[in-house]
Amino acid sequence: MRNIILGPLLRLVPVGLIALSIQRVLFAAHPVHDVKLQFVLALVVAAGAGGGSDRGAVAGFVLGLMYDMSGNTPLGLMALAYGVGGMTAGYVHTFTPDPQWWLASLFAFVGAAVGEAAVPIAEVITGEQGWLTSDVKWTIPIVALFAAIMCPLLMPVGRWMMGVKRKKWKAMLE
């Protein structure tokens, strides 16, 4: 019972609701150079960088699904894009199980870029033409840079949300 209550899914939903609300109220209303910074995506890639690619994919899926439910996108579209983004950021764990802040930020940058680029691609695949234009060359780096900057701050939240405990190194007993 305790595992269920403290399990990742029940943490993901309330954290996701707050993140989504911040995105809708704050970041959607204040674009930077006509680009809306993606707070939810930043949280997803931070969770991925903190917990690995499988946890990143699940965080992306759940938060993306909530994003879809609150907006006009087909249900599952943002879930797919953010799932891919979270998974990409999580590949930092193939290099080291406990990445330094700058390495996590670097993978968060790549993960966010992949996640944001996946949105118009998925829209084109699902028949919603018109968004895969030259504008994405500005949108993607700005969104990715924001995610990279936010990564060190959001990584502890992402770890807690996914139920990941930081590894403690212990000296081996002789």
Binding site: L20, K36, V40, Y67, M69, G71, N72, L80, T126
Partner: protein, 363 residues
């Protein structure tokens, strides 16, 4: 949760679930609509709380960073208000004349449709969706496909509707398209000689009375250079050709009966207006590409064309033509239209209770 599954299986499960959900939602699923509706209710109080927390911080930041800009903008707006007060009287009289002309020509306008006022409560959080959320829904009679306007003109159409809120797809979204018409009066071509071809009975006065007491009569040959605003020009020829008509003005009484003769040349071109993305002008694709090259000019007003398959009734202003680019090797031209409405700063809007053809909604 994930310990029992390998990484590849988790990813595969995520991708397959997404594809399944997209397919179900695209085909239209009432359960998914219901879930969205419930989720909207759950999110609403959290949004309100977040807004309450962030608003003072936002205002403080804006106060520090934008104080000078706001002051300058305020002064400019005051100046604009003074100018608009003068224009207001003229505009009111023009609207009255416009309605009279519509009656005379037995035409309808958007004024026959009721509207539901609404407030914009949120914008799309995504960079790849151009939508806003408004605070009216099915309870207020709003339905999918209905056009939405603000004080300046058309802003979009309803794409999703819930009990007390709706999602509006803005006209700049690439998914948006509406039948539109260009109404323009050829600027310098208005100097010509014309004679009256029909009699018009005015204000209960017999035509004979008018002709005997006026200084300038409808049967007199007149030369005029006056070009009326497009709102006042009657739509003359549905076959998109240039035509000429004579309209006589109203009289104030038997002793002061006057008429004025005005030449109205209206160029009417119809086509499909499509969005290109946020902060970008829309593109107008004409039905008849050859005539558009010669007759359409920059600054011409574009409004909805109406028709059986249109998403909006006739006569809702959309914007003005801002750029025409002749295309080499083709008779057509790229015509860009800048919307009247400021889509980045929407606040109060109105949903026109016009139900378009269901085939058009599904397009």
């Amino acid at each position: 949760m994930l310990s029992g599954l390998s990484r590849r299986r988790v990813l595969l499960l995520v991708v397959l679930t997404c594809v399944l959900l997209i397919t179900l939602d695209k085909r239209g699923n009432p359960i998914i609509d219901q879930i969205r509706s419930v989720f909207a209710r759950v999110v609403q109080p959290i949004d309100t709380a977040t807004e309450a927390i962030t608003l003072p911080l936002e205002r403080a930041w804006n106060g520090i960073s934008h104080y000078d800009d706001v002051q300058q903008q305020n002064e400019a707006l005051w100046d604009q208000i003074q100018h608009m007060k003068g224009n207001d009287v003229e505009a009111k009289s023009a609207i009255l004349e416009y309605r009279e002309l519509l009656k005379l020509n037995q035409l309808t306008s958007k004024f026959q449709y009721k509207t539901v006022p609404a407030t914009v409560v949120g914008a799309s959080p995504s960079n790849f969706q151009n939508t806003v959320e408004i605070n009216v829904g099915t309870r207020q009679g709003v339905d999918i496909g209905m056009p939405v306007t603000d004080g300046a003109g058309l802003i979009g159409r309803i794409t999703k509707v819930f009990a007390d809120r709706s999602i509006v797809l803005l006209i700049t979204d690439p998914e948006y398209a509406v039948e539109a018409q260009v109404l323009s009066t050829p600027g310098s071509a208005a100097t010509s000689t014309t004679t009256a071809t029909e009699d018009t009975t005015l204000s209960g006065l017999p035509v004979s009375d008018l002709t005997s007491s006026t200084t300038s009569t409808s049967s007199t040959t007149t030369t005029t250079t006056q070009v009326l605003p497009p709102e006042l020009t009657p739509i003359t020829d549905p076959t998109q050709s240039t035509s000429t008509s004579t309209v006589t003005g109203s009289t104030t009484g038997p002793s002061a009966a006057t008429t004025s003769s005005t030449l109205l040349e209206v160029v009417r071109e119809t086509g499909s207006l499509e969005g290109q993305g946020a902060a970008k002008p829309m593109v107008l694709r004409f039905v008849d590409t050859t005539s558009s090259v010669t007759s359409v000019k920059i600054g011409a007003i574009v409004d909805t064309a109406g028709g059986n398959n249109s998403l909006a009734p006739q006569g809702i202003p959309i914007g003005t033509i801002s750029r025409i680019e002749r295309q080499t090797g083709s008779s057509s031209a790229l015509v860009e239209v800048t919307p009247n409405a400021s889509l980045q700063r929407l606040n109060f809007v109105a949903v026109v209770l016009y139900s378009p053809n269901q085939d058009a909604v599904g397009k």
